[in-house]
């Protein structure tokens, strides 16, 4: 009798443990699922918006680039599908679109590295301990929040009027700091140093656009600064003890550690400067929008395709050199 009882209790115990294991497993799975569900809950606004608003916009925009808009008598518009006609018109018939595109890309080939290098340099400077660091930081981030949109448009309008004005430079309202360095001086300097005139041109361009570059590198500076902050001071300390100079520390420690940020910033800078309203191509497309929306949309999509290709190429090249610190 006794034995039997023990047997059954054993069985019950075994059964219980099996059950327990099963429920335990199910519990883990359900916790995961619950977490997944709340994850979806958190991203829900974006997902719903993306599906309900963004995708229709994108699709109708792509549709638009393949069609023609004709105004119907009585106020409505009629949209008919015309295939690649708009793209053909933009690429082969429009006299200046391709030209603008090429020159826009050429400008950015020099501007983007300049922005990146400047932002990294300033971030390293602003990361050092010194008197008035907070004040300098506050000043350097002013353009990020203030020199966008309307203010940019006003500046652009002023440049147009001042160029219309011609020689008169007496007023103080010339907003761009365009006379920092006379380009002739630099050209002379470079000629005496036996460099080609092409290099001199690039340098004078960059120096004269220093205001633009400072203006555009605000967000990049922020991202670099945050990257610099995330490097552990212990690494620098051990370098110092081993006798590394500041120069060596920068190239052997700071640069590799910050290389993921360089990738992020390179992509961000390309996108930002290609899509900013002050960009030549963007303003050309904007101008075309007023005369024909379909053509302008086709141009914009073609331009977007080019930008994506450039971003992909740059990201591909950069990511080969990026160093990721192993995360624990």
């Amino acid at each position: 009798m006794k034995g039997e009882v023990i047997m059954t209790s054993n069985e019950v115990a075994v059964g219980n443990s099996v059950k327990k294991r099963k429920t335990k497993k199910r519990k883990i799975a359900s916790l995961d699922r619950r977490k997944a569900r709340s994850g979806w809950f958190f991203v829900l606004p974006f997902v719903v918006g993306f599906v309900c608003i963004y995708l229709p916009i994108i699709i109708s925009s792509i549709q638009l680039s393949f069609s023609k808009i004709t105004t119907v008598v009585g106020g409505g518009t009629d949209i008919t599908f015309v295939g690649f006609e708009n793209y053909g018109e933009a690429l082969f018939k429009d006299a200046s679109f391709v030209q603008t595109l090429v020159s826009g890309i050429q400008n950015l080939v020099f501007e983007i590295p300049a922005i990146l290098i400047f932002a990294l340099f300033m971030a390293v400077l602003l990361n050092q301990k010194m008197v008035g660091r907070a004040a300098f930081r506050a000043i350097f981030f002013i353009p990020v929040v203030l020199s966008t949109g309307l203010i940019e448009a006003i500046d652009a309008a002023n440049i147009v009027t001042s160029s219309m004005e011609g020689g008169i430079n007496s007023g103080a309202e010339q907003s761009t700091a365009d006379q920092i360095v006379s380009s002739i001086d630099i050209q002379k300097l470079f000629e005496s140093m036996q460099f080609g005139s092409g290099l001199a041109e690039i340098v004078t361009d960059i120096v004269n656009n220093i205001f633009d570059i400072v203006n555009k590198s605000g967000v990049q500076m922020l991202i670099f600064l945050s990257g610099l902050q995330s490097i552990s001071p212990a690494i620098y300390e051990s370098c110092q003890i081993d006798g590394a100079t500041a120069w060596e520390t920068f190239w052997k420690i700071t640069f590799p550690m910050i290389s993921p940020m360089i990738l992020v910033n390179a992509v961000y800078t390309i996108i930002d400067s290609f899509t900013s309203s002050s960009n030549v191509v963007m303003s050309y497309i904007d101008g075309a929008y007023k005369t024909g929306q379909a053509l302008s949309t086709a141009m914009a999509w073609f331009y977007f395709l080019v930008v994506i290709l450039i971003v992909g190429a740059v990201a591909g090249i950069f990511s080969a050199f990026v160093f990721y610190q192993k995360r624990d």
């Binding site: 997944a36 994850g39 010194m130 448009a153 006003i154 103080a172 309202e173 400072v214 993921p260």
Partner: protein
């Protein structure tokens, strides 16, 4: 060696119960100063310090110069612009430009409208981007990568590309034809179905869709769904920030019986206030000075916003020689008046701007 010798013979005197006095022989002052200030190390430090200071001041000057010229130009009267001897300090000091813009261009109305628009969209954007960033950072669910790619995609596609499509969508706003279905305006082309559809009159909407132009709704809808200007960037920044928040915080909250939403609101959000202020500052300022969405969604009969301030007030119209320069000075003054509230906001928030970003510790 020298130090050791000096330190080896300190004399310790007990002055009172809790106080001792240590006397030791120090090397003479002159020698101490010599070792401190005449070393190469010190010279290098000073040179670097000066170089850095000059460089920073120079660049700060470049940043501030346009603002200084704008401020100077805003106080000048027309005569000063043709006077070659006047550059930064006005000779005939005047407030006329400010007064004219303030009185003749509906500055107050534009200010209130823009403030309402910017504040509401910025608040919504901050909260929504926090939610999405938190969801992407802390929860592992199927399709997370796809959602993140969608965020990046929405950042990459310039909204100018979508201008006309956005205009059309919001001029006849309708979610999947739900509204037109509920109001009996749906069409299928088949007679009897149309008859049934037309008998549905649940919502009294004319034409079956809303015209949301000239209202704040397009921007608010875009904000709620995290698709407004540069929201992809905010989501990205916040995701990086939340990645750096240790999981233990939430786990302990879960163990204490708090749900995910409650944990998010009462634990995660208070932690991320600097970052949220950063995002709010960006969203507010970029919406404040925006001229793209406003020109897309608001027609001439729409609400007055800051864009309409950038005009020449009727009383200041002239036809004298320096007209163009004077007009651009007026536009600059308008620009200054537009960003004046932002400067105040920036002064309050700039401390958090760097703090928030610093703590985000963006990696990759």
């Amino acid at each position: 060696m020298n130090n050791q010798e000096i330190n080896s013979t300190p004399t310790i005197k007990k002055e009172s119960k809790n106080k001792i006095r240590v006397d030791f022989e120090r090397s003479p002052l002159k020698e101490r100063l010599k070792t401190k200030f005449l070393s190469l190390f010190f010279v290098k430090k000073v040179v670097w310090y000066l170089f850095r200071l000059i460089l920073l001041i120079g660049i700060a000057y470049i940043v501030l110069y346009p603002f200084i010229t704008k401020i100077a130009g805003s106080f000048m009267s027309p005569e000063d612009f043709v006077d070659a001897t006047v550059r930064l300090i006005p000779r005939n000091f005047t407030f006329d430009t400010y007064i004219a813009i303030f009185n003749e261009l509906n500055y107050v109305e534009a200010f209130i409208n823009t403030f309402m628009l910017s504040a509401s969209t910025a608040l919504i954007q901050t909260f929504v981007c926090c939610m999405v960033g938190y969801g992407l950072a802390k929860f592992k669910f199927k399709g997370r990568k796809i959602v993140f790619l969608a965020v990046i995609f929405s950042l990459i596609v310039p909204h100018r590309t979508l201008q006309f499509a956005m205009f059309r969508l919001f001029s006849q706003f309708d979610l999947f034809g739900i509204f037109s279905f509920l109001s009996g305006n749906a069409h299928t082309g088949i007679g009897w179905i149309d008859g049934i559809l037309q008998s549905i009159h649940i919502l009294p909407i004319e034409g079956g869709s809303f015209n949301l132009l000239n209202t704040f709704w397009p921007l608010i809808i875009l904000s709620i769904s995290g698709l407004a200007f540069k929201n992809g960037l905010y989501i990205f920044l916040l995701r990086q920030f939340f990645n750096g928040v240790p999981d233990e915080l939430e786990e302990s909250a879960y163990i204490d019986g708090s749900g995910t939403l409650k944990t998010f609101i009462s634990i995660i959000l208070p932690l991320s206030i600097p970052m949220m202020i950063t995002v709010f500052l960006f969203a507010f300022c970029w919406q404040w000075t925006d001229n793209f969405y406003v020109s897309t969604f608001f027609t001439d009969s729409g609400p007055t916003v800051m864009t309409s301030i950038v005009n020449i007030p009727p009383s200041l119209k002239t036809s004298y020689a320096g007209q163009n320069i004077y007009y651009s000075a007026i536009r600059n003054t308008a620009g200054l008046m537009i960003i004046a509230p932002l400067i105040v906001l920036y002064l309050f928030c700039q401390k958090f701007l760097v703090q928030g970003i610093e703590r985000s510790g963006i990696v990759g």
